[in-house]
Symmetry: C2
Subunit: 358 residues, 2 copies
């Protein structure tokens, strides 16, 4: 695909150190990735790895520590220059090869056994970076290769959030004794026009989540990510005002696709070469799925949850049904943006809310 | 002055409700303004007021509550439309006249007795909104009129802030066991290139502050704000690493300029017409200056403090002298931006740091 001004802006946003600091300091994220690498150490040792969107190179270095023969660390952002410095300073230049460019543009002369990438955006699909993982997979991944994470699931659920509504909206009803309700329409628009990345608690969620999209990283196509539509039907487990929907995701780090699980001898031989033995202790059950979750009931991550608020809440009775559809699609204007269209109906009333995540 | 694209961007930034919510919810700010209006109620009652940059109109309404005959509420941002709605909903349309436009462009047919404005930006002078207050003063303020706030003072002081340095810089020395010190130059640049608005504690301040600029709102000129230079000399009260300088300000709400203090009969007559009597109780000593302070040792405001960090700390001994100069000037490119040039010397070493607040 062509390199657009939007790509340029996107890659530039990753040139700033702060964003990498935030991601690395997200211990849930970084430690789960490290645990995943260590869990698949048998497979990774002696193999060729590609890290798609390597940032500062931390995952590539984890892979080198796990015994990878070679790691191609690819990033189109200027941060790749720093990644290269970090690799050099750690005497890993003979293992980790930093490539400063888009996955779509770089050249490598061999197939890879492992693709690792931390590609997930808000609402999973925002940023559209998964497309680059798919490109790398289709171009370089050998049969039987490993992709980490192996699969991802996006969820949605109806939420109640009185505190948020009170703080941003009801606030205007009495401002130091003055009735500023005239601000309400604009306040609702400003607060709720765009998706809001924030942390909610399990108690805000009105019922079990609905799966919006399941992604199998071994088989997903760029085509099927351009627009995702789901129909949902929720039955509220309690009586509460419905303020909108929350979206979150999890990803799993399973082994290679079922049809391709034959481990190769070199991997088996490398089984005990872990540099970081400490991770091994956590492997109480090596077959249990390793999950990185951004759900409200799980420890907080930098992804938090993404909320789409209605302009006005809907009062729900217990067991009342809310149904409709949600469509997430890449913006035509800028594929890094996401258009969201929510249809929802409850009782006799039906609504549509459209917004853009920029 | 001409209406530039930069003005447009500046006014647009105030069209969003969030910024007004933040300012109004800053109780130190809003309650001090209200207290100031109530303290000068004798003067305001029956008079003509202009509110420069009225936002949602809250200060104008406070002035109406204090008995103003007429309040011209001026704002160039689209928020003026909302201010007008709020005024109407409070049945104050016959007192508060909302003018949607720049102070430099609006027309009013009478002089004003009082100018009130919440014009202070970060580091006091950022945003350059004081120029509009000066324009209003020179165009409309009657002799003996009142300006609230009446004067403002910008301070600076050397600070130590190990936590901040450790968190953003030293962090890279050991990232999950990996030495990422190669990130340090970029991390320092990203963290400390620009002024940082953040809250520090009194303990971070190494000695008494230096007055960078005192502004008398009755006499200050636009000319003298274009560039402010000060020479400072600090003697550290403790042994500590010097990480940079903090800037903060306070403003006072004193009566009309000394030469013009003759209260007029109409004001005296209105002495007991306070709608909000509760404020009166705070007037234990009506001659004591009412101060809105953003100093580190005072309750936090949305202005916080503005920090200018060095790329590398300087180890100070107790009583060691740091001296140099600071220049704050309007950017030529965009008068809403501020160029900051710091010269500092300690022992045999001297340094220059230049940055821009955008």
């Amino acid at each position: 695909p062509p390199f657009t001004d939007f790509d340029m802006a996107y890659f530039n946003s990753y040139a700033h150190v702060g964003i990498h600091e935030e991601m690395i300091k997200d211990r849930v994220r970084t430690e789960t990735y490290r645990a995943a690498i260590m869990r698949h150490q048998n497979f990774i040792a002696g193999k060729v790895v590609m890290d798609v969107g390597c940032g500062t190179g931390i995952l590539s270095i984890f892979c080198a520590q796990a015994g990878a023969k070679r790691v191609y660390a690819v990033d189109a952002s200027e941060i790749a220059v720093q990644a290269n410095e970090v690799v050099r300073a750690n005497n890993l230049s003979d293992v980790v090869i930093v490539l400063h460019g888009r996955v779509e543009d770089v050249q490598i002369e061999e197939g890879v056994d492992v693709i690792i990438s931390e590609w997930m955006g808000y609402m999973l699909l925002y940023e559209s970076m998964l497309g680059s993982v798919i490109t790398a997979r289709d171009r370089w991944l050998k049969p039987g290769g490993l992709i980490l994470p192996s699969n991802a699931t996006l969820y949605m659920a109806p939420v109640t959030h009185n505190d948020r509504y009170r703080e941003s909206i009801d606030f205007w009803r009495n401002v130091y004794g003055i009735d500023m309700s005239a601000m309400l329409p604009l306040a609702k628009q400003c607060a709720f026009e765009e998706p809001s990345v924030e942390t909610i608690a399990g108690e805000n969620v009105l019922t079990w989540p609905h799966v919006v999209k399941h992604v199998d990283c071994y088989s997903v196509t760029i085509q099927e990510l351009q627009s995702v539509t789901t129909r949902y039907r929720f039955k509220s487990m309690m009586r509460a005002p419905l303020h909108g929907f929350a979206f979150w995701f999890d990803v799993e780090f399973n082994g290679p696709a079922i049809s391709q699980t034959n481990r190769q001898p070199s991997a088996l031989m490398a089984d005990n070469q872990a540099e970081d033995g400490s991770q091994r202790k956590k492997r109480t059950n090596p077959n249990e799925a390793l999950v990185l979750s951004t759900a409200p009931e799980d420890p907080q991550t930098h992804w938090q949850q993404t909320l789409i608020y209605f302009y006005d809440p809907i009062d729900l009775e217990q067991d009342q049904v809310i149904e409709g559809s949600a469509t997430l699609s890449q913006s035509r204007e800028n594929a890094r943006f996401m258009n969201i269209r929510l249809e929802y109906a409850s009782g006799q009333r039906s609504f549509v809310k459209e917004c853009v995540m920029r």
